[in-house]
Amino acid sequence: MSPRASNVALTVVQLRYQLKIFWRTPVAAFFTLVLPLVMLVLFNALFGGGSVDTGQGEWPVRQFYTGALAAFAAVSATYTNLANTVPILRDEGILKRWRGTPLPPSVYVAGMVAMGVVVALIGVVVLLGIGVVAYDLELDAAKMPAAFVTFVVGVAAFAAMGMACAAVVPNARSAPAVANATILPLAFISNVFTPLEDPPGWLDAVGDFFPLKPFVTAFQDTLHPLTDAPAFAWGRLGWVALWGVAGAIVSVKKFRWEPSAEGASPRRRRRTPAS
């Protein structure tokens, strides 16, 4: 009898297979990675000529979009991805099957979250790379630690919120609606799809309350040519982290391994669009 594998080793195995599954689900890969790319190219073709001031000072719209959509890709890969995928796994009985194995539940969840984070990292690197190559984005080495920390805080928080969303939605059929209904309207008032120049005060307040705008803005600060290094936006990051903690508490308290009675579907599944 060999000893059971360590939790770290098991997490690596889980991550490897979760990534494999992600890449073999073209629809998920498309919505998480390809769509932000398409949006970047389209938005820049349509509105990319001028410059914009979203609070940090004037900068070219095309660079604004690069940072905005990179941050949004990170949110799609964590929040939207997990909020869609986990309820499917639950209703398929896959979570219940895992619950019957010696794999510690925390390791299974860690593997799922790590998958989201790796996909987010790929999305951000690809989008920023395109920004540098095609849209004259200049990455300031002095601000990269802040960009990295912002990324880490953001994906951790949005992954926790994605797990919380997955825990509270009744079944896999309602998951995409809930995930999209929570993130898409916010994206319009959070400097993602449209730069906000002098928005109405209440819209500003709503945007600042929810975590998307603080995260996107904090991330853009690290790319903006006029912000000074090191460009840590601690206030915004703290607010995002608070949302993350709330998400983590909800997901720990409400997480279910059993399929929901009404959602227990035939064993076939086709993943629904992730965004």
């Binding site: 060999s2 098991l10 599954i21 064993r267």
Partner: protein, 312 residues
């Protein structure tokens, strides 16, 4: 030595009592079949033992551990084949066995397990490409990948074609030979009769009867004599002998088959008629089961719908 011990197990869902005082001991290396109509509580009992469900009251011990509190150490020693649960069908069959097997301390070689369940030639295929019956065999493979000491099989062959069922039976027989303790639920009487050392019939949340298949069949004590008489034969003389006449078909339940047979053949000789299709048989396990299940005024057992998975 009992590996599974259940004493006065009760499970209530609000007003509904799903399991009402079940006590049961299953010994090491034993294959035990839990039979019962739909909703009788057999899956609830098994899910409590698997650690998937908590109990309202009663004592449960498997391998000396309480499944309600046990964690990885417990799950390392058991194998579970649930009635219906999905597999990540983006993975190949071999990959599924690899990732699910990773956390067991006593994992078997995945290819060896695929040989055992007859899927070695499908190892590289995606789970989604396999038929429903073949996916059920992956379920079995995942159940035994960790070399379990106790294996829980919830209706393991529902939806199988006859040859796949035969093959699964051989596999389960093979596991028994390796000393694995197996608790299975089934709707199929022939399955219980073929596989189980002992059978428990659970009706309305209670164990109605428990014993070896032979004991259960003996428990009714009776033997059934069946035959047919020619059209137009005078059967008046049969009724005093305890026979039931339905048209030309005659059946006679008896605790004393030798005596009954003698009386019936004497009657036939006296009447000058032949007893066609004469059989003397014990009631089948199915007769016993139906008698118990129906007498408790429970819904009669309905065979499960055939598995629909894999049929797009």
């Amino acid at each position: 030595m009992p590996v599974i011990e259940i004493a006065n197990l009760v499970k209530r869902y609000g007003e509904l009592t799903a399991v009402n005082g079940v006590s049961l001991e299953i010994n090491e290396g034993e294959v035990f079949a839990l039979l019962g109509p739909n909703g009788a509580g057999k899956s609830t009992v098994v899910e409590i033992l698997e650690g998937h469900r908590d109990r309202t009251s009663g004592d449960v011990s498997v391998l000396g551990l309480d499944p309600g509190k046990a964690g990885a150490e417990y799950r390392d020693q058991i194998g579970i084949v649930l009635q219906s649960s999905g597999i990540e069908d983006e993975l190949s069959v071999l990959e599924a066995l690899d990732v699910y097997g990773a956390s067991y301390s006593t994992r078997r070689d995945p290819m060896e397990v695929l040989e055992l369940v007859g899927l070695a030639d499908r190892a590289q295929d995606r789970v989604s490409q396999l038929s429903g019956g073949q996916q059920r065999r992956i379920d079995l493979a995942l159940g035994i990948i960790g070399t379990p000491k106790v294996l829980f099989l919830d209706e393991p062959t529902t939806g199988f074609d006859p040859s796949a069922r035969r093959q699964s039976w051989e596999l389960i027989d093979g596991l028994r030979d390796l000393g694995t303790t197996i608790l299975l639920t089934t709707h199929y009487m022939d399955e219980a009769q073929h596989l189980a050392d002992r059978v428990g019939v659970i009706v309305g949340g209670e164990i109605a009867v428990i014993g070896t298949p032979a004991e259960l069949m003996d428990a009714t004590g009776d033997t059934v004599v069946r035959f047919q008489v020619p059209h137009g034969a005078n059967t008046d003389g049969l009724r005093p002998l305890g026979a039931v006449v339905e048209g030309i078909a005659v059946s006679c339940r008896t605790a004393t088959p030798t005596k009954t047979l003698h009386e019936l053949t004497s009657w036939a000789l006296a009447q000058g008629v032949e007893l066609f299709d004469l059989t003397v048989s014990r009631p089948s396990l199915e007769d016993v089961y139906l008698q118990l299940a129906v007498s408790d005024a429970q819904p009669s057992p309905a065979p499960d719908m055939p598995e629909t998975r894999g049929q797009q």
